[in-house]
Amino acid sequence: MSETIAFKPESLQQVHKIIARYPEGKQKSALLPVLHLAQKEFGGWLAVPVMDYVAELLSIKPIEVYEVATFYTMFNMKPVGKYVLEVCRTGPCMVSGSEKILNHIRTKLNIKDGETTADGMFTLKPAECLGACGYAPMLQLGKFYHENLTIEKVDEILDLCREGQLSLD
């Protein structure tokens, strides 16, 4: 499987740089950063062959990768849309109206939590505390936080995504 799945040379270089941060024989420590890289490069989720490839790269058993990948919420275990909308709904965000934002997105995109739109454009994921409590309600999209949301702001964000105008990285 690893013949068909391979990091781009620059990503592979990055992997070796990450491994060098740890003492010899402790390359397993690179697992989380390498999984982040893999998810980004291989379609936004971690298919089994991708995880097997990561295991091979780090000289660890595939099960060691599976158990880690399934533990952390940032790793997607099934395909997701191009834009993953992660809306925080814990405590302070709830107080500031996150449910209204979530309901608006659910209705507008006609999807439930965890689902992807039919065109493969959006996935909705309610999140538990993203550390933006003072700027609530908020959503994470790719690398960035969008804060102090209103219904109008959410609509603008969705439009920008559809037009391919919103940076994820």
């Binding site: 941060r21 003492p23 402790k26 397993k28 420590s29 690179a30 697992l31 989380l32 950063p33 999984l35 982040h36 780090l58 660890i60 060691e64 158990e67 880690v68 533990f71 952390y72 919420t73 940032m74 790793f75 709904r89 814990t90 405590g91 302070p92 709830m94 107080v95 500031s96 999140a127 538990e128 505390c129 993203l130 550390g131 933006a132 409590c133 003072g134 700027y135 609530a136 994470q140 690398k143 960035f144």
Partner: protein, 451 residues
């Protein structure tokens, strides 16, 4: 106005970058520290009275002094930047706007602890911040403050940033170390403590971002001067991240001598309750600390003002007081439903339980289920007692403090707002459309009185 030590230069444009930070006196504390012996630095930290700013409040100097120093075994400093406690966003502010303050603090701490390789473990969702930190690390290295033979002292130090994968439990120090070793974030049994067997079984100190940044002013002004700021055992300054129904959410630096009332109502800080509403309750130290109704928040049971410090907030114990915790200050106004709020916190802890201990794995989900039922108007009176019973069985019965963190919000909500829970049970038809509150609100302080 509170004295500012950490955020004094936060308003300066470009302070994120080495040149600007250096012009403001940045790295002078590091230069001073590198001329001292590690033992002298440790004494300064002990004298300062600095208490861990991550939530537990354990004396930092004492924690450092526990670090085992076997010959030939490398030691590590790991900065806990896995800030995931609802209500808490202060470390994000420090890393985003003052990355060199953290790097400088790490350099001094690493030198004191004998760590030649130190790590920052940051929550994965803060995905733009590692770039900021790595840029700052690169600048510090280029200027000779990191790398080999720093400033000709013979001391070597590298700092690396590691992104987590989105698990609250990794804020617990041993779970963080497991995660840094490339495993699931399952907390370890203690002892052995990380100071003896930590990262890769090497002696390790794990400290919060704010604690490590505080090392810079401690060296700068001396531990004795730092200890003069604040009151009692609440020395120095503390960052408070304020949010909820207030006019001015944000990160504030306080010197722990001000009252809670002043913090909530004065224009210097939160600027009062939004839309002129009444204060109903507050969680002053991050979601895991007990919620306190307005009447007990502003005054202790003895009728004395409650202050923004470790001792005063805890005054009265869990039955009437709360905790400083991480300083995540969540304010709730009269329109907030305590049952709903507690339900979202129970959902959070259920979601974030690592699943290792049965009381936490099963209990958090059970509490969430019951709270959801009550919140929807489908609860029974005995559910409230069952909820109380479950939280009692979780508290103190798990490997790590996540069990306590999940139990305390539920316990405090029932303790202080039981009649609100009962009202939900008795008024199923109303509880979805109408919020019920106790009579012990705090009214806004008249403008004239607050000036």
């Amino acid at each position: 106005m509170s004295k500012k030590l950490l955020l004094k230069d936060a308003h300066i444009e470009g302070i994120r970058y080495f040149d600007t930070y250096r012009k403001q006196g940045g790295y002078e504390a590091a230069e001073k520290a590198l001329k001292m012996t590690p033992d002298e630095i440790l004494e300064e930290v002990k004298t300062s009275g600095l208490r861990g700013r991550g939530g537990a409040g354990f004396p930092t100097g004492m924690k450092w002094s526990f670090l085992a120093k076997p010959e030939g075994v490398p030691r590590h400093l790991v900065v806990n930047a896995d800030e995931s406690e609802p209500g808490t966003f202060k470390d994000r502010y420090l890393m985003e706007f003052l990355p060199h303050l953290l790097i400088e603090g790490m350099l001094i701490s690493s030198y004191c602890l004998g760590s030649n390789v130190s790590y920052i473990y940051i929550r994965g969702e803060y995905s733009w911040i590692p770039d900021i930190l790595e840029e700052a690390i690169g600048e510090a290295k280029a200027a000779g403050f990191l790398g080999k033979n720093i400033l000709g002292t013979g001391f070597d130090c590298e700092i690396y940033v590691q992104r987590g994968g989105g698990a609250y439990i990794c804020g617990e120090e041993t779970a963080l170390l497991e995660s840094l070793e490339g495993k699931r974030g399952n907390p370890r049994l203690k002892p052995p403590f990380p100071a003896v067997k930590g990262l890769w079984e090497r002696p390790t100190v794990v400290n919060n971002v704010e604690s490590i940044t505080a090392i810079v002013p401690i060296i700068d002004i001396t531990g004795a001067e730092y200890a003069k700021i604040g009151v009692g055992r609440s020395t120095g300054t503390k960052l408070i991240s304020a949010c909820g129904n207030i006019n001015k959410p944000g990160v504030y630096e306080i010197d722990m001598t001000i009252t809670v009332e002043e913090f909530i109502y004065s224009d210097e800080y939160c600027g009062g309750i939004k839309d002129g509403k009444r204060l109903k309750a507050c969680i002053p130290g991050g979601s895991s600390v007990p919620i306190v109704p307005a009447n007990l928040l502003l005054k202790t049971v003895n009728g004395e003002p409650r202050y923004m410090n470790y001792e005063s907030l805890a005054d009265g114990g869990f039955s009437t007081g709360t905790m400083m915790g991480s300083g995540g200050f969540i304010v709730l106004d009269e329109d907030q439903c305590i049952v709903e709020h507690t339900m979202t916190l129970a959902r959070f802890y259920h979601h974030e339980s690592c699943g290792q201990c049965t009381p936490c794995r099963e209990g958090t989900g059970w509490m969430h289920k019951i709270l959801k039922k009550i919140e929807k108007g489908e609860g029974k009176m005995e559910d409230i007692d069952l909820l109380w019973d479950i939280q009692r069985k979780i508290e103190g019965n798990t490997i790590c403090p996540l069990g306590d963190a999940a139990a305390w919000p539920v316990a405090a909500a029932i303790r202080h707002f039981r009649d609100e829970f009962e009202w939900h049970v008795k008024n199923p038809e109303l509880c979805l459309t109408q919020n019920y509150g106790l009579a012990n609100y705090a009214d806004p302080i008249p403008v004239a009185a607050s000036n």
